[in-house]
Symmetry: C2
Subunit: 396 residues, 2 copies
């Protein structure tokens, strides 16, 4: 399969060229002007884009595939955590069924790589981790899945969680997570000591949830940057959400962004519509890597989300005030190529040598694709057609 | 046609009832438990909702149906106005063609009533007004269209515009508009003097664009409220956008909201993702009427927008932090019933006596309909099927 040659005919590229694309060994082997000879799959002039990458999901949390469940969450992170601990064991569908339903949908929407955080705590133990790992194994070959061992209920106040994270990493979790070191766990230094020690012991990356705003959040970002720099972990540490970077304090922002850039610490954003968010262009201008993810998708935290990173590119554009085509292309890029690179995968492009993970949509330009989010999509994974017009065609 | 009787069988209501709906004379004549006898149109268990109302569009501005045009706008309202004046006359398609393309799409998405602002200025004169009025006439019977005579380039600095607005009202424009009386036109009192005089002379309503933020914007809102109160125009005056109500100054907010409520001045919001927005629940709690609209839809101001008020309900929910089903229902309500009432139309509901302007979607609950925005939609206007699965079935 991987070695098979195939051709995608009659595609439009984002730069306007009208081409045929040769695929071999799962990669783009050649791109030639459209010849009209046929023989390959006819894309009918659809716009061909690099497939999407979701840098932050919670496969174990989703309620996808279940009957509608009214949101019972509350206003704060702490209350939402308690709400989830109260209800998650009584859900009608088990994790593998819900996670698989979401994966099918994400693939149908054009995503072929993702990073998922998986709750590990004193109540659920490694149960969700094992379930998601098994689902990821089933979907191997269709979507690249990185798993973060995520202490959703904290570390310091939950006896045994540090040991569970250690066990998950020993069993192959790709990264270790963290959660609001100061505001939730109450001791930023002690929390980060544990997280960085686990990463160092297992030689893994780090991805920390940080919801704190303003100076308190930025101080933690600089602490994380200092630790990442000292540990030589450039490119291996992400801070997710990092709302504090949306601070109006320009000097605090600049100092924090410069520290992140110097240490090679990346920022993951879903660019939510409410509250402060990291400013994408200002961070990139200071050399900070930024990529995007869905975050919660129809779960006990949020009733919204649909696993569509093309829609995420629109929401990012709306939130960041992007209107020009180049800016909209940047929004798409952080939902695709930038995410692939941060996940340690080959960069995404419609170019010779790039993986044939591709998305074809009925749109004239990339900006129009983001604005319209056409339902008619062809999704290719290593050259294999994996979804058509919203229908998942894979093996799961 | 209007007097014809028909039946919609096998519908789910938002309260969970499974019903058949009898329509007569364009209105809902009866709602009975689903009998299974057939004879009507089978809705297949779809959720039946009141059709959508778009309280603020710009039919003359849209580029819908044209090839993609990269946005060439700039950062400020003033620059965007200049950008539009520079390019609008050179657009490939004329107003009627673009406006009709958008109307077909809005109807297919579930909208059967709307208010459109139409540019009237020293350059375009009444040209766009006449074009949109003719299009509205063509679509009569399919969608209720209110026209605001809108001085997009201001009044005070543009000789002849006040007279053009007067002429448009004399020719039947439904409302007179206004634009940033202080920051754009430079003299809030003089601008509002003209607008309220025109409204009084013609006995029409008012809908003023106000982009100004913070105390300066709120001072103008209180001035508008005072004038509306003095003129006895409760229910006839809207301020669109009113970003200043998103102020962090709680006292200024409360004083302004109370003034609006006392005078019966309503707020129209698209609840954009960037910048301050009117807080929907806080305004309603103080008695202020609020309804929603799309604002720009793929035009020289914004490349985004698709004329889907179900998507607008999602964007409002995301921006306002709504997660509970009741809050999401409120978001839908300001995109439907609240808009109808502000447009002087009968209230929208799936209830006996209400207009049979209805939207049927494959969703279990109203909240799920907002979260998912299903593409499979049936749109009824006075009981007539006007769109199916995104395809417009009307006469235009």
């Amino acid at each position: 399969m991987e070695g098979r040659r195939m051709r995608l005919d009659n595609a439009r590229l984002a730069d306007g060229r009208h081409v045929d694309v040769m695929v071999e060994g799962g990669r783009i082997a050649a791109i030639a002007p459209h010849a009209g000879g046929g023989g390959g799959m006819d894309l009918g002039g659809r716009l061909l884009l690099p497939a999407l990458v979701d840098g932050h999901v919670h496969l174990d949390k989703t309620l996808m595939g279940m009957p509608w469940r009214p949101n019972s969450g509350a206003a704060t992170v702490r209350e939402r955590i308690e709400n989830e601990r109260r209800y998650r064991r009584g859900l009608a569908h088990p994790v593998p069924r819900r996670a698989a339903a979401l994966l099918r949908r994400m693939i149908a929407n054009g995503t072929t790589a993702l990073r998922t955080h998986v709750d590990i705590d004193d109540d659920i133990g490694l149960e969700n981790f094992h379930a998601v790992r098994a689902v990821a194994e089933r979907f191997r070959g269709e979507v690249d899945i990185q798993i973060v061992a995520f202490p959703q209920s904290g570390i310091l106040g939950r006896p045994g969680v540090a040991e569970l994270l250690d066990a998950a990493l020993a069993e192959g979790a790709d990264l270790v997570g963290g959660l609001d070191p100061a505001s939730y766990d109450g001791d930023a230094k002690a929390h980060l000591d544990v997280v960085f020690a686990l990463a160092g012991r297992h030689g893994r990356g780090i991805d920390i949830h940080l919801h704190d705003r303003d100076a308190g959040g930025n101080a933690q970002l600089r602490d994380i940057a200092a630790r990442a720099g000292a540990a030589g972990m450039a490119g291996l540490v992400t801070v997710s959400h990092a709302f504090s970077l949306g601070t109006p304090d320009a000097a605090d922002f600049a100092a924090t962004a410069d520290a992140l850039a110097a240490a090679g610490v990346a920022i993951l954003t879903s660019s939510p519509s409410a509250g402060p968010v990291p400013p994408v262009q200002a961070l990139r201008a200071r050399g900070v890597a930024i990529y995007a993810g869905s975050d919660n998708i129809r779960d006990l935290w949020s009733p919204f989300g649909n696993g569509c990173m093309l829609e995420r590119a629109l929401l990012i554009s709306l939130r960041q005030g992007f209107r020009a085509d180049d800016d909209i292309a940047l929004a798409y890029g952080i939902c695709s190529d930038a995410g692939a690179r941060m996940l340690g995968l080959p960069g995404r492009a419609v170019a010779v040598g790039a993986p044939a993970d591709l998305l074809a949509v009925a749109a004239e330009t990339l900006a129009e694709a983001v604005a319209e989010r056409p339902a008619g999509r062809l999704v290719f994974r290593a050259g294999r057609l994996l979804a058509r017009d919203g229908a998942y065609l894979g093996n799961n």
